[in-house]
Symmetry: C2
Subunit: 450 residues, 2 copies
């Protein structure tokens, strides 16, 4: 169904005070669609609808709402309502939402929650923002190794409602993770087989402090529905499910796109971000890059005599700068993306440099020949053609080496390589290219000296 239609339908029912129909409709809808429709409505309508829905539906919708729409609701909520919603929600979603709220609200909510919820939430809130702990949920199903399939199915029936997934089940002994059983194994096995027979004891797990992006990559690499998370003593503390992992991968790719375009990453969608916030996300890096580009300008000023004597030299500057920048971006993009996907690591730096060097020679020679010949023919000046060809070859090699080494080096010292994003590499490459260009020019055309 189109979202606009759904919004209209909801609003008509609200106006007609058809509350029973509304309640039934909201139970039938996909939470994602319902949340999107509610975001289009004003906060009073949203609040009314929220109060009409069944408690568990309401809690689920609350988790699906965008940050802005949710924030407006929270302001209107009583503490009791907020606590009730959080109690009904999946714990990892509740923790994510609490993280966005002011500390005073968090404190009040935690005080009103049940002890069990409070303990779990506190634990989740204390994990570092980018760790596996921050995206995991402690709501999974634990089985004992001596349980039969029938007993295990009973446990699922009893606890399934409150578990994030019933498709991957964990066999533990005093919280120690012994093995993994899938619901598929249970469904295909005989009723008297035990978990010990069925479980895979060669368990892949991640540490609670591991970076969430790595965890998401691992989970996807193995094609899992859920990945178990253990603490430093091998105790099972939670699971990360495939939908959370996919969200992390999409979010991280979006952040890399934004960083590489010299922006501070935004958590909200394009339209949900205000004009002012867009400007604030974009100005800082533009300022830094604008001011650092003046160094390239200073280098140019240094060669004023050269281009005063031969103004034609200036007309090749944009082409040389752009080509250098593009070559650098190609290499840095491959590095940044390769590192994000776990295919390239900082220890590969020598292999990478050697590979990029050979690629640069091939690329450089092709560009140099094509443009050198073109210029020779167009301007009828062989020496200018040679100058441009040699500069292009040098520019491509320099750009590609900077483009591959800088991101790897930055990662090695523990920073995000996308931060030293393409535009910064462009600026650096520009300065190098201009220097090489005029140095060679002055050598070749002695008339330009002094």
């Amino acid at each position: 169904m189109e979202i606009e239609e759904l919004v209209q339908q909801l609003q008509q029912l609200l106006e007609a005070k058809e509350y029973r129909k509304l309640r039934e409709l909201t139970e039938d809808m996909q939470p994602a669609d319902l949340a999107e429709a509610m975001e289009e409505m004003d906060v009073q309508q949203r609040l009314l609808l929220f109060r009409l829905m069944k408690k568990d539906v309401a809690a689920e919708i609350f988790a699906w709402l965008g940050q802005e729409a949710r924030g407006e609701l929270i302001e209107k909520f009583s503490d009791t309502e907020l606590t009730a919603a959080l109690e009904e929600m999946a714990l990892d979603d509740a923790a994510d939402i609490l993280e966005e709220m002011p500390a005073s609200v968090v404190k009040r909510v935690l005080a009103k929650s049940s002890k069990k919820t409070r303990d779990s939430l506190n634990r989740l809130l204390n994990y570092p923002a980018d760790s596996a702990g921050s995206i995991m949920t402690p709501e999974y199903i634990r089985l004992r190794k001596d349980m039969t399939v029938t007993q295990a199915l009973d446990v699922i029936r009893r606890e399934g409602e409150n578990s994030e997934t019933v498709y991957t089940l964990y066999v533990t002994e005093r919280n120690k993770l012994l093995g993994v059983v899938s619901a598929r194994d249970l469904l295909l096995a005989g009723p008297d087989q035990t978990m010990e027979e069925l479980m895979d004891d060669n368990v892949i797990s991640v540490q609670v402090t591991d970076d969430k992006e790595e965890v998401a990559n691992e989970l996807n690499r193995y094609g899992f529905i859920a990945m178990p998370v253990v603490d430093s003593e091998g105790m099972l503390v939670g699971i990360v499910t495939v939908d959370d992992a996919t969200d992390v991968l999409i979010e991280e790719a979006t952040e890399d796109f934004e960083r590489m375009a010299a922006m501070q990453p935004s958590e909200d969608s394009y339209f949900a971000t205000s004009v002012f916030k867009h400007a604030r996300n974009r100005i800082p890096w533009l300022l830094v890059l604008m001011l650092s580009a003046t160094f390239t300008g200073m280098i140019l000023t240094h060669y004023e005599a050269a281009f005063a004597a031969m103004p034609l030299l200036v007309s090749f500057i944009p082409m040389l700068m752009d080509t250098g920048g593009n070559c650098g971006n190609q290499s840095s993009t491959l590095m940044i993306r390769g590192m994000a996907l776990g295919e390239i690591e900082p220890k590969d730096i020598l292999r990478v440099v050697w590979k990029e060097f050979r690629v640069a020679l091939l690329v450089g020679v092709v560009l140099a020949v094509v443009n050198g010949v073109r210029i020779w023919i167009m301007y009828g000046d062989f020496m200018i053609g040679v100058l441009i060809a040699v500069t292009l070859l040098a520019a491509v090699v320099i750009a590609k080496l900077i483009g591959c080494m800088l991101p790897l080096g930055v990662q090695k010292v523990g920073l995000d390589p996308a931060l030293i994003a393409s535009p910064f590499i462009t600026t650096l490459v520009d300065a190098c290219v201009i220097t090489v260009y005029f140095t060679i020019a002055v050598q070749m055309f002695s008339a330009l000296q002094g």
Copy 2:
């Protein structure tokens, strides 16, 4: 386990001819790890190992191998071996692999396959490369609406082994999709409840011809494990599972990164791509952009008289070009990413232009004031400061408008917006900025005229 260790262990067992142990080990390992280890080994070892493994393990590993490693194996395979491997594999994986192979091999393989497999493969192979049909699998579990939970569990037990997932089950009537039941619903329900009672008949499905990226976005949006795919008559023809969808999202993001850095996308990882192929992927766009950047050069040549009279003007060119390029990239990146995630559509163009215009004014004023004042102070020339400030403001507005309109326009005519990537926008913006700069300069300093 580290992959290097696993490779050593496998090679030692191979040399010691411990074939039984090898067989046991390969059954215990994660397919992803085993495939990665086998990629590190030479093709003879890989072939031997492949022949030692149990048939179903071998088929699974075959699907996990990288394209290059798999190609080498295929060359060594007999037709019978290849057909056996493909018969054992999930049908969607088999179709993907067949797509890579030369037509003559495909023909021979299809001729040797069972009729049922051949029909399914033929159907999958005929769907367009970017459609839902190309990534779906026809191996899912169908239930009838009058079945009880006990009967449904029997079906799962019987057919689960050959189904891509047992976690989402489809209720059909003469192939028409009536509803969806999850394994969770079955596990939590009483044994005599019928599918009709349990199923959700408000089914979300996609068309077989829908773009695979949109399907992946939908699946992720709803947090599904699998998405049903129907043909134009509403008949269920297959399902797309969450792991395939995540792969599509990662692949598409990687393609966008590469296109935006002026490269032809590569299917293989950085190291698996040869130096020659890297060069071939990078040269075409560099050539196009290099040659189009000469237009900017020609515009510069046009103003030779101006910068001969006032050489200082030249030194601001890199800063103006880089800032314009960066501003354009910010906008185009947000558009391209927003469209990939389905947040922005071509019909939003007026809303986007109005938003970007306001952002550009804010950003432009800040950059103009900072740099104008800096130049006024550094060079003691108020007029130069004004010239740069006005040019910057114009450059930011032009760059942001081009940056947002071009990708949306390109999408509207059905092309990939990432193709008209950031570097192309940079080139266009450069030409505009240089023109504006010298036009204003000539107006302000009458001494520069003619």
